[in-house]
Amino acid sequence: MVLAENGVKAAGTKSAWDVERIREDFPVLHQTVNGKPLVYLDNAASSQVPQVVIERGSMYLEQEHSNIHRGVHYLSQKATTAYEGARETVKRFINARESKECIFVRGTTEGINLVMHGYGRKFISAGDEIIISGMEHHANIVPWQMLCEEKGARLRVIPINDAGELLLDEYEGLLNERTKLVAVNHVSNALGTINPIKAVIESAHKYGVPVLIDGAQGAPHMIVDVQDLDCDFYAFSGHKMFAPTGSGIVYGKARLLDQMNPFQGGGDMIKSVTFEKTTFADLPNKFEAGTPAIASQIGLGAAIDYLNSIGREQAARYEHELLRYATERISAIEGVRIIGTAREKASVLSFVIDEIHPHDIGTILDQEGIAVRAGHHCAQPVMQRFNVPATARASFAFYNTKEEVDVLANTIEKVIEIFS
């Protein structure tokens, strides 16, 4: 959530967040890498999994595993109940009207591709326009480019300023009667910018244009209320929010999902099949062909339960304070430049060092046990916008500590020393 300044505890006062207690929940954090305690700062790529989520997955595999939606037998019913229970949990997590609006996918990328195929290929045609932003992940660029190529439609891009914020006036100017879809991210994975998606959605709706939100970096750090946002689609990945890989959701308004073409054809997504004609199943099954990642999606439900149990608002407030502290420490180092200085940011600290390539930074940090991402973060247009080949990116979760930030800052100084 976006926190008001007064929502953050003043520096110097002890935070109520017991981070050591929280760290106990994550077995992977308690190891050494290259002889140093692991400092895991690559949460925007994939976050770690708490013990309760691991145990929920194991319990499913040990006691409940079967295929869902098709057996009359005991285990199939157990598995179906657990799987559909996870969907209910997701529904409450994002405050969807109905659980059938929450389609299980294997991650954000698949969610966006589902909307591209199901909605885009049906409703977008030659001469139409799709608006994305200049800070999108490749997952929210390439599918729309493919669609534009296929249909003869046009991709328009909302420019961003030097801080890495959307230029909303320019966006307003891009919207017109040819616009058929707007697709932007909630939080930029490369810059950390929290986008004013409510305003983006409101403007698009004045033209009757549906909006897809790439929530891969939003859902793990923000309170998401799809009804309040009034977004038409919202996609996110489980593995970036403390669940196993292979889990994720694309939310869609039922009215739109009903009109859309199915994504993949196969078992479980049909009412009846003859060689002449197939009748598709109702939501959500229409979009869930084949056997899904049952254990992973049940894990997503367990991860949401975990987040609720530790307190999502407190977690976000702690992360906000940690990011503020890290920004202060890292930007004070001579020769370091932060890429992405938006007023509203979450979790992500991207930086470059004069004359030192991020890949070299990443290797040296790794030798000290620090995991960061070095590269273009699947957002090459963002790199081009800031005229850098790549950045090093530290991304935080509520289990990271100020001491870890200190280790990062000290090691960055060491990197500069090696290259001096």
Binding site: E355, I356, H357, P358, H359, D360, T363, I364, Q367, A374, G375, H376, Q380, M383, P389, A390, I418, F419
Partner: protein, 149 residues
């Protein structure tokens, strides 16, 4: 940090800071572009071949210290060599950086290129060290573009 200091030796840091033959080659009759999509390293290698030998060679582009130093030292190593000699050197360099860290380096042709042996300890960085060599190889064999993925 012992492996690290082996990777970032002074010679490598020096070539990174002051890459040799770092320019566009006006008289080039062969060139190729190399690209490492993983980290965004991107370089062009220019060759001037005469009688199947490298009369002159240069490169330009951007990349990490390892890829830049490797490119710089590659240009020094192949200049003046015949095509078969260059191909053999590429083979030996490749074998060295992808080899078992425990094993002795089996070539005495590599000379100062042996400082890249430290890369063996860092499997994800092997492509950084070999990008310029792959690109040079492509230029030599009239391929326009090469990617290490």
């Amino acid at each position: 940090m012992s492996e690290l200091s082996e990777l970032y030796q002074q010679v490598i840091l020096d070539h990174n800071k002051k890459p040799r033959n770092f320019r566009k080659l006006e008289g080039a009759n062969h060139s190729a572009e190399g690209y490492n999509p993983l980290c965004g390293d991107h370089l062009t290698v220019y060759l001037q071949l005469e009688d199947e030998a490298v009369k002159d060679v240069s490169f330009e582009g951007s990349g990490c210290a390892i890829s830049k130093a490797a490119a710089s030292m590659m240009t020094q190593a192949v200049k003046g060599k015949s095509k078969p000699e260059v191909e053999k050197l590429f083979q030996e360099f490749h074998t060295m950086v992808t080899g078992d860290p425990e094993e002795e380096i089996g070539s005495d042709q590599l000379g100062n290129l042996q400082i890249f042996a430290g890369v063996r300890e860092f499997p994800v960085r092997v492509k950084c060290a070999t990008l310029s060599w792959h690109t040079m190889h492509a230029a030599l064999n009239n391929q326009a573009i090469v990617s290490t993925e």
